[in-house]
Amino acid sequence: MKLNFEVDGDDFLLAGEASSQVKKVLKQLGVASDIIRRIAIAMYEAEINMVLHANGGMVDVDISPEKIYIVFQDTGPGIEDIELAMQEGYSTASDKIRELGFGAGMGLPNMKRYSDDLKITSELGKGTKVEIIVYLNREGD
């Protein structure tokens, strides 16, 4: 089944809507709670990144009994050096954003840690696409 969300770039305080909604659906589907938690964390980080660094975007979620596949697509500034961005502690967040408690440079590393597969494609000035896969059956771990 498929779910789509539009993530507003205006208000980071509202970010987390999509991951909240997906969590609710996964619980109703009876997905194991530790897996839901991994998805929740990875999704939340990706969603926040889209709001903080790319002024919002689209989230497409595809759920099957085997896996959940999530695509975050934005038309923001893009990431220049993905390998660098993936490093723990790397962040380009402004002081203002840091004051609000973001910008530890842990979002992408956490997304990698909690997902089974993470793929980032980005073009400067065009946007960023983040794809996350989490397998739902434990054997797939």
Binding site: M1, G16, S19, S20, K23, V25, K27, Q28, L29, G30, V31, S33, D34, I36, R37, A40, I41, Y44, E45, I63, S64, P65, N110, Y114, L136
Partner: protein, 437 residues
Amino acid sequence: MIEYLHSVTLQEDKCVGCTDCIKRCPTEAIRVRHGKAKIIDERCIDCGLCIKVCRNRAKKAMTDKLDCLSEYKYKVAIPAPTLYAQFKDIYDVNVILTGLKQLGFDEVFEVSRAAEIVTEESKKLLKSSNLKKPVISSACPVIIRLIQIRFPELIEHILPVISPMEVAARIVKNDLIKRGIDEKDIGVFFISPCAAKATNARNPIGIEKSHVDKVLSIKEVYKKLAGTLKRLDKIENLRTSSYDGIRWAMSGGEGKGLEIDNFIAVDGIENVIKVLEEVENGKLVNVDFIEGLACTGGCLGGPLTVENSFVAKNKLKKVLKNTLEEKAGDCANLHTEDITLFWNKEVLSKPVMSLDEDMNIAIKKMEELERIYEQLPQIDCGSCGAPNCWALAEDIVRNNANIEDCIFMLRKKVREMAEDMVALAQKIPASLNNKDF
């Protein structure tokens, strides 16, 4: 035997079938059917919000009556500290405990004293253990049940100590049995602000069996006690608890006693849900402890209290000030060494929200649910008896409702049928002559 799941019940004759309670229920456990509210048993976590919001007082909690005292030879009252904040101009705990005894109890033992013991054990556990951070308090049974239903992945964060109520009951029974009283003659009565604890006394979480025999609501006791308090001639020195234990009645009380700075105290179930969502999103890993209480202001705002939460807080502060001035009585002779203070039964998740055990079928149902939801007006009016349009769609998929329960869908159907009838009426059977009609 049917499992005893909750204490909150409906008094049908008082219910007018409005939507106040269905809209506020944090687990979407109430529907209106045939003009009356109906609680979905396995979803109810006894938060008591519906008791508080019902304008007709149609919701109440199943608790025991003072008459039950006659069922036991030896009766002990274990009052929650919230009781101390209910009375006008009485801030001396000894007065309240003396009055309580005069209602027919042989002894009283304070739950706030047990809370102090729980605090000591919790401190050790927090220091030594490898519990997942943030550790979540187990003091409020509503929050534990909320976690079982809505946040199962957080179960391993819960501090696995038994509640002060249970510790108090165990201490009392242990002591009386040692003094040669037959266990079956002992009745331990919890004086409760809380509907969920009434459920826990019958069907506890984390342990096999509760040592609490009966639960009396503060409301039930108040009526008699308020009068008795005015007529006391000799005040007994019964208080054994102090500031740290009594303050458990209010939000932040447990957390402050733990002597850790890095904790969050959150009260009101809707606020607790927001904080748990953050834990779920991995945002609060740097916090050591979360004290979440379902009621506004903590147990002082419990559904079975008399005084409102905010006034009660003011009163409890006066009680606390009093306890600082007078030393608590000793109860060192009560042995707690042989009492287990920890959970010994696994706390399991309760997947009551899941659409089907088989995920393939659950996904099919979810797709159907979405399809139905798209047709609905999505204004969450509640007229269908479900709290919102999504919940109605869910009920339809579970075969517990029809799409015509939505008044807008019903109207649409009626209109379509009327149009069909008009169209049909205009059709003329071939055997008849046009002019005849």
